[in-house]
């Protein structure tokens, strides 16, 4: 029985010693990383008819944002990101987003908004595709600003009178980009500028219905991208 007791004690000691081992990170490199932001865009604008507007608040829903590799043949965009109307589909490893952000995000144009981090495969990237579409019940960000029907909402004053625009609608914005992602570089910063004031310059803001005004703005919306 002494043999059993000794072995049991040794086994227990082994298990306890195993549990007491420290967790060691032997080697780590983050690889290619890019942080995505949306820049603010409020202030004064002049519409297509010369009317002056002061934009005080604006929200836009981004359905997805996807990097486009230069060699399109190898650019395998996950199925879930193309089908924006379907429920959110995450990668199994949740932080391992590769080429794009899914799930939708309501951003306020009052301040800079961090959308997320991408970890794309090392490659040359020639563009960013931004899908602007109606918010859903699973969208992140300031969802209450748009409910589950609107793509955009703008609040301000037109010629001194309160003015709003809101509505559904969608747009696919293909933004040119020149970026070579490598595993050794520090994290890049990619900022999307949604040119709301530029859109206002291309529409008639005197249209009666706020939804029609919203649809016009979504259709006229353009954007550009900057990389640091």
């Amino acid at each position: 029985m002494n043999r059993i007791a000794t072995a049991a004690a040794l086994a227990s000691l082994g298990l306890v010693a195993g549990a007491a081992l420290p967790a060691c990170l032997l080697d780590y490199s983050p690889g290619a990383v890019v942080d995505l932001y949306v820049e603010p865009d409020l202030g004064e604008a002049t519409d297509a008819n010369g009317a002056r507007l002061q934009i005080d608040a604006a929200w836009v829903h981004l359905g997805s944002l996807t990097l486009t590799p230069c060699d399109g043949a190898e650019a395998r965009v996950p199925e879930g990101w193309l089908s924006w109307a379907r429920p959110v589909a995450h990668a199994h490893h949740a932080r391992g987003d590769g080429l794009g952000l899914d799930g939708g995000h309501v951003v306020s144009l009052a301040e800079e908004t961090w959308l997320g981090t991408l970890r794309p495969p090392p490659a040359r990237y020639c563009g960013v595709e931004v899908i602007v579409e109606a918010a859903t019940s699973t969208s992140d960000g300031e969802r209450e600003a748009l409910g589950e029907v609107d793509t955009l909402r703008v609040e301000g004053r037109r010629e001194g009178v309160a003015w709003t625009a809101r509505g559904p609608g969608g747009a696919a914005l293909a933004l040119p980009l020149t970026w070579t992602a490598t595993a050794d570089d520090p994290a890049a910063r990619l900022a999307i500028h949604l040119d709301l004031r530029g859109a206002i310059e291309r529409v008639d803001t005197a249209v009666d219905d706020e939804i029609d005004r919203g649809l016009d703005l979504v259709s006229a919306l353009d954007a550009d991208v900057s990389l640091e």
Binding site: G14, L15, P22, A23, R76, H93, G96, P121
Partner: protein, 304 residues
């Protein structure tokens, strides 16, 4: 008419032939296959007063996600230190603790190598029915267990939690329950197991869903020293929960061929070398689970 030894060889060859069939499907960070207690707790009649100590070494690899988009490749070496004790002839209790080395590569060129203790498992195997008290031919019973989230979080040098595939476990409490059946007709034996694992209270963004494992093995003992075993193991992983939402794409089914070679160099010692070879996989997320290579050594200590 095949001789028994030829039939045993055919058994192993069949397992290997199954393994030669190309298979591909999907992965998880904390997977396994087959009956992990087969070596440590044994498959036959418990011997009251017997203590078994074991060390199981396992290597596997796993690809998760779409190549060129979000793939992570995991290589894992796992050493399980285990002890099992039978206080009666109908009960065995066991504890095991893994130490894991993981090497993870991500599609963005990122990479992490980690080593740490894994998650402690406590198990019990209870024989409920046997056809006779001495040298039973049929054994039927239940297996119960609990896996504790004792793994230590792996973080980056900046303190950020690494993705779950680099963690030493699922971070959940897991309840384990199952049935086993053993038929002993020396030199032949048949083992069948079914086991379900249900996790809760996960501490990571992603928690695995319930997992069902089944296994069927046929064993032939050549002599007092050499035994071969062949069979199949299957695992079905229900969809995982990611950030509070069930992700159907993480559902995964794998069928393994399971050849083992067992060698007893002397009384009370048993060495096992084996493989678990995925022959068919179903996955919604481009997962390709790789081979498992297993080496184990156990020693029995009897109460005198």
């Amino acid at each position: 008419m095949l001789g028994p030894r030829l039939a045993a060889l055919a058994l192993v060859m069949t397992s290997l032939a199954l393994a030669a069939t190309p298979g591909r499907a999907s992965a998880c960070a904390t997977c396994g296959c087959g009956d992990p207690t087969r070596t440590t707790m044994g498959t036959g009649q418990p011997y009251a007063g017997r203590l078994r100590l074991g060390a199981n070494l396992r290597y596997r690899w796993d690809d998760v996600g779409d190549e060129g988009v979000d793939r992570a490749t995991v290589h894992e070496v796992r050493l399980d230190l285990a002890a099992a004790y039978a206080p009666t002839d109908w009960l065995i209790v066991a504890a095991s603790l893994p130490v894991l080395y993981r090497d993870v590569g991500w599609v963005n060129g990122g990479h992490a190598s980690t080593v740490s203790p894994g998650e402690l498992e406590l198990r019990a195997r209870v024989v409920l029915l046997r056809d006779r008290a001495f040298a039973p031919r049929h054994l039927l019973g239940v297996a119960l267990g609990l896996k504790l989230p004792t793994g230590i979080d792996q973080v980056t040098p900046g303190g950020t939690l690494l993705p779950i595939e680099a963690q030493p476990g699922s971070g959940t409490w897991d309840g384990i329950g199952g049935l086993f059946y053993t038929h002993l007709a020396d030199p032949w034996a048949v083992f069948a197991t079914a086991q379900v694992t249900v996790g809760w209270a996960g501490r990571y963004d992603e928690s695995p869903g319930p997992s069902l494992r089944g296994g069927l093995a046929l064993q032939y003992r050549f002599d007092a020293n050499v035994t071969v075993r062949g069979g199949v193991d299957a695992r079905w992983d229900a969809p995982a929960t990611i950030e509070g939402q069930t992700d159907p794409s993480t559902e995964h089914v794998t069928l393994f061929a399971s050849p083992d070679f067992l060698w007893s160099p002397e009384d009370d010692w048993l060495l096992t070398v084996g493989a678990r070879i995925p022959v068919a996989q179903l996955s919604g997320q481009g997962r390709a689970e790789g081979w498992y290579f297993l080496v184990s050594a156990v020693v029995d200590l009897e109460a005198r």
